[in-house]
Amino acid sequence: MSRLSKSVVARLGWVLLLGGLATVMTRDGHACGNVTRLRTEQRAQLLVDAEDRLRRGMPVLAAWWAAQAHGPIDATGDDRLRARARRLLAIATTRADGDVALWSVGLLNYTPALREKNLRWALHTLTELAAEAPDDAILQTYLGEALAKVPEHHAVAHQKLSALAAADRLVSPEGYAALAGLHAEAAAAPSAWFLSSRAGVYHALAEDAWRRCDAMSAATCRPPAARGGGGAT
């Protein structure tokens, strides 16, 4: 079987599996104009399920479902659901370190170049979306996470995530984990953009961020390597 055929079979398997899951899933049934699209538009249902998977730490699945709601990656148009799918796809790609099928390729044949391309797309997309909604704490948090993945953007990420945390509007444990890593980085290795920092302060801030992450995720966020001293992620 050729590589292309394997890819097609794999994707078909995912479609059947996820389609079956979608059929049997139950939903809450509160009646209001605000929720009717969840019951009348399949794309809305896909997105809600994708967001649920993202929260449960399954960014690859989340991206796959969001992609179904989004349609072709280069699709455009004034469509609220597509915009939401795009946002979700971008943050899922970020959290999956680029291991998602954004383009017309198989699910499992990622290369470093493709991962990098995916992450660049995610950062570019979140930058665009966040610029249109500066008050949207979700988008700003997602953008902060994406910036934190790229060393040359750490200063901006640090500033953005710190501001959201100070206002208690950092919306996810992943955002706090990224912030903790940036604080720890600042404490451990002050670089040009952290010349005025004080290691002790950043250590304390990193600890606070880890604690917030732990509380929000009801789990231990800190990676084993960082336990015992506020290390970077």
Binding site: N34, T36, L38, I138, A167, V171, A218
Partner: protein, 415 residues
């Protein structure tokens, strides 16, 4: 402004001359009124600016729930009751299983009173005070009237508009007899729909249980305790004799009565001595739970059960995300989305126009999200505060529900 100013001077002049538009009560009626709940009804001049009132009624979107406002109907995704009714009748465009499920869930905003020809029956002063401080008026109908953010003058203008086409009713020829009215009240089974809190009346029937099982007439029947503040005295007997003549389409049925019987019933409703109702107190705030509380439970039991009907986001909505997101009922949009974990954490637009966390502590340390829930409990017992209670207009959350939210926040808001 100048026009309003002229009305103020005119009103003051009329009051000074003892020429109020409504005759001051006297005799037994006056003493009965003083024993009733009138102390909570603000005494406002009954002169308002109709044109200003129309603009305010439009701005505060009375037609989002009520019929008979004189304004063009809103589309179904903006009309709370219309949307619910279309679901209940099956006219709403949705899959049959979804409709069946929603029908079971719709408790609130199935029926609200029409405002058509409200002035034929209701006193403008009462309407004005009710707009600013709504209270439980219809014991069998779940409360849904929001506390509007209007000044006394604005409320008076709105009342003037809502009563603009009030037909004049000639005062009854003679006063009725309270005791004969009391007997008629029982004989005509008025108490099968109406409560009459504090009155010594036979045949009062309490309707307990699911309000969805009750007839519209029962749901919309007001507690007659409030009649002496609500209803124009000169219209009461005529209303009892033939409600449809004053307000066609009213759920109040026409009961076979002679004119004298109608006067007697009116006398009983308007003048029967009323015992003070038991003092209401807000439920006690419960201590934090010791067990872990996660977002899923908070969302299922509180946020998605109640809050997100008004605080959602437009992506998944037919409409605009609700009045708590995009504005409505005269309130500006707060951009508060309570439909997902991330959105709750994203905050809201505060009074100063800045985005702020819903978890930020208020003066006594209570998180804002909890403070508004407690404020609604206080509103229900007649203690409104600067903080507008939430859910707006709807029954307050239970102490257990608030305890759940408070515990979740105190524990760090686990996802």
């Amino acid at each position: 402004m100048e026009r309003r100013s002229r009305w103020w001077w005119l009103a003051l002049a009329l009051i000074a001359l003892g020429c109020q538009t409504e005759a001051a009560p006297s005799g037994p009626a006056a003493s009965a009124r003083s024993s009733g709940p009138s102390s909570k009804a603000a005494v406002l001049p009954e002169v308002g600016d109709v044109a200003a009132g129309e603009a305010l009624v439009r701005e505060h979107e009375c037609h989002r729930c009520h019929e008979g406002t004189g304004l063009a109907a809103l589309p179904v995704d903006k009309h709370c009751v219309g949307c619910h009714q279309s679901i209940l009748t099956g006219a709403f465009e949705a899959p049959a299983p979804a409709l069946a499920e929603w029908r079971r869930n719709i408790v609130h905003l199935r029926h609200v009173p029409s405002l058509d020809r409200a002035g034929a029956l209701l006193r403008p002063a009462w309407i004005a005070s009710f707009l600013r401080a709504p209270h439980d008026l219809r014991p069998h109908l779940p409360a849904t009237m929001p506390r509007l953010d209007v000044t006394e003058a604005e409320a008076r203008d709105m009342a003037a508009y809502l009563t603009r086409d009030a037909p004049r009713v000639a005062p009854a020829a003679a006063e009725g007899d309270v005791e004969r009215g009391r007997a008629l009240f029982a004989a005509k089974q008025c108490g099968s729909c109406h409560a009459f809190t504090g009155a010594d009346a036979a045949g009062l029937l309490a309707h307990a249980g699911d309000p969805r099982a009750l007839a519209v007439g029962v749901l919309l029947a007001p507690d007659l305790r409030h009649t002496r503040e609500r209803v124009r005295p000169e219209a009461l007997a005529a209303w009892i004799a033939d409600p449809q003549a004053l307000r066609p389409g009213s759920p109040m049925p026409k009961t076979p009565l002679t004119e004298e019987e109608a006067r007697d019933l009116a006398a009983f409703v308007a003048r029967a001595p009323l015992a003070e109702p038991p003092a209401k107190t807000a439920p006690a705030r419960l201590p934090l739970l010791e067990r872990p509380v996660g977002y899923e439970e908070v969302s299922r039991r509180v946020l998605k059960k109640v809050c997100w009907h008004c605080h959602s986001q437009p992506d998944f909505a037919r409409g605009d995300g609700g009045p708590g997101m995009s504005g409505g009922f005269g309130f500006r949009g707060r951009q508060l989305d309570l439909s997902s974990y991330e959105a709750v954490a994203g905050g809201y637009l505060d009074a100063a126009g800045e985005m702020a966390s819903v978890f930020r502590p208020t003066a006594d340390g209570t998180p804002m999200l909890v403070a508004v829930m407690l404020a609604r409990q206080a509103e229900e017992v007649g203690r409104p505060s600067e903080v507008r209670g939430m859910p707006l207009g709807l029954p307050a959350l239970s102490p257990e529900e608030i305890q759940l939210v408070e515990t979740w926040i105190a524990q760090g808001r686990a996802r």
